[in-house]
Amino acid sequence: MLGRIIWIIAWSTIYGATIEPLGYLLSTGVVTFALLAYFNRRGWIFNIVLSVATPISIFILFDTLLKSPLPRGILGP
């Protein structure tokens, strides 16, 4: 069970390290997918859809609706 804990902590740390250089959308997508791939092994389509939908919906929520800008990174202008 320790494997699960280490996996979550490792990806949270990677998230912190990549959020600014890679940009919010890419970084969040990768982390979401990594976590789902580990915890929800049956359901690849669900995992891929959620890994795309999660960053986009949270980005719109914070950046567009709540006016709290998130880093664009390499995707940005």
């Binding site: 804990i5 902590i9 976590l35 669900f46 709540l66 709290s68």
Partner: protein
Amino acid sequence: MEVWDKLLFGFTVALSPANFLYCLIGVFIGTIVGVLPGLGVMNAVAILIPMTFGMNPTTAMIMLAGIYYGAMYGGSTTSILINTPGEAPAIMTTLDGYQMALQGRAGPALGIAAFGSFIAGTFATIMLMVLAKPLVKVALSFGPTEYFSMLVLALCTLGGLMGESVIKGLLMAAFGIFLGTVGIDPVTGAERFTFGIPELMDGIGFLPVAIGLFAIAEVLITAEMEMMRPVVEKVKGLLPSAKDWMASKGAIARGTIIGFLIGCMPGGGATLASVVSYLVEKKVSKHPEQFGKGAIEGVAGPETANNAASGGAMVPLLTLGIPSTGVSAVLLGALMLYGVRPGPLLFEKNPDLVWGLIASFYIGNALLLVINLPLIGIWVQLLKVPFQKLLAFILVIAITGTYATNNSVTEVYITVIFGVIGYLMKQADLPAAPVIMGIILGPLIETHFRRALIISNGDYSTFFHHPLSAIFLCAAIGSILYPVIRWVVKRNHGLKAAKA
């Protein structure tokens, strides 16, 4: 009547389209949070605070408070349908609620919980209005000396009365106070515990700590478990029958009063309120043997009491600026982040916030009743979502919230570190809420302490020369010593019994 004018004013604030919408969103999210496993009310409030920074503080508080009592309600749904309390205060509801569900009476159990919560919420709101004025009057006469002692009392009672170990509670509160001292000394400007790291000069914010200790730690804990729970799916006939009402009307009345009084007390809280209410109902019942076998009073009492307690907790929070529970400490922290100073002056300086919030409690409670009775089918479906599928989403949104608060990667790392600390604390059975109390109240206590000493020219006896301050401090000492006294009395009792 002056109060009615103010309440009317409050309704005009709370019924403005934006505030009404966020009240609805708040109670809706709250209910979802209450229903979903592995997502507590503290997590939800902490995660959502970063999203409220762009909002007007009144709107933000209306939404956060909505989450609070929405979760109280949602927690009861899981207690009844899957025998698992969604929130700690709903723990007593599992005893009779689940039994009722097994007997095919899930509908009336859910119904009486909803109506009981509504009645309690309304009563608590009325009492808050009535008590606010005299309490504010008293509070306005308080100086730093009284505030210091009162905050110490709030901190000391939290660990003790929650029913857990007093030592563990105080230990964690001390840890929180320590975290609160990190940064620049507010009076002398000296650096404290920063280890030369520039990011620590502003101190450790309560938000990264709260999100780490609650949200991330909860994700880690739940990730370890395999969850498959049988759900009682047949729910019909939500309206309790006349017989059910007759059986539970006393329980609702007693639960409301017990819950409200306990909610006002420092360290009280909704969990204690529901436990006390259940025990009282069992005591006064003519057929105590039916408790635990599906007695409707066993659902009505605790459910009413925990909602009344969350209303009661608003009394010290709004009038004195003193949180009596973990959740109200987080709400206090949120207020301070918005730049609003909680305390008696709040009623004069931000009447729209206070009265709008109070009016929103009525609206929120009515909304809960309206959205919950028809939506019960959706909540049942939601109960079947395995946590494994939610985990990634919760983690990502928690970290996004931390990051977005100050656009600081350092705070993300602080959150992750506190996630691990919170996970280890859970393993050691150490409570997390007192840490949050400590980190929020610590700096306030320090400021009042030093101000009081400046006024008294450094004479420490000032805290016992002010009568109210002396009473608060004695009560604080008493609350720490209470378990010791109880132990001595019990032992003497035992010795006498042994001799006889």
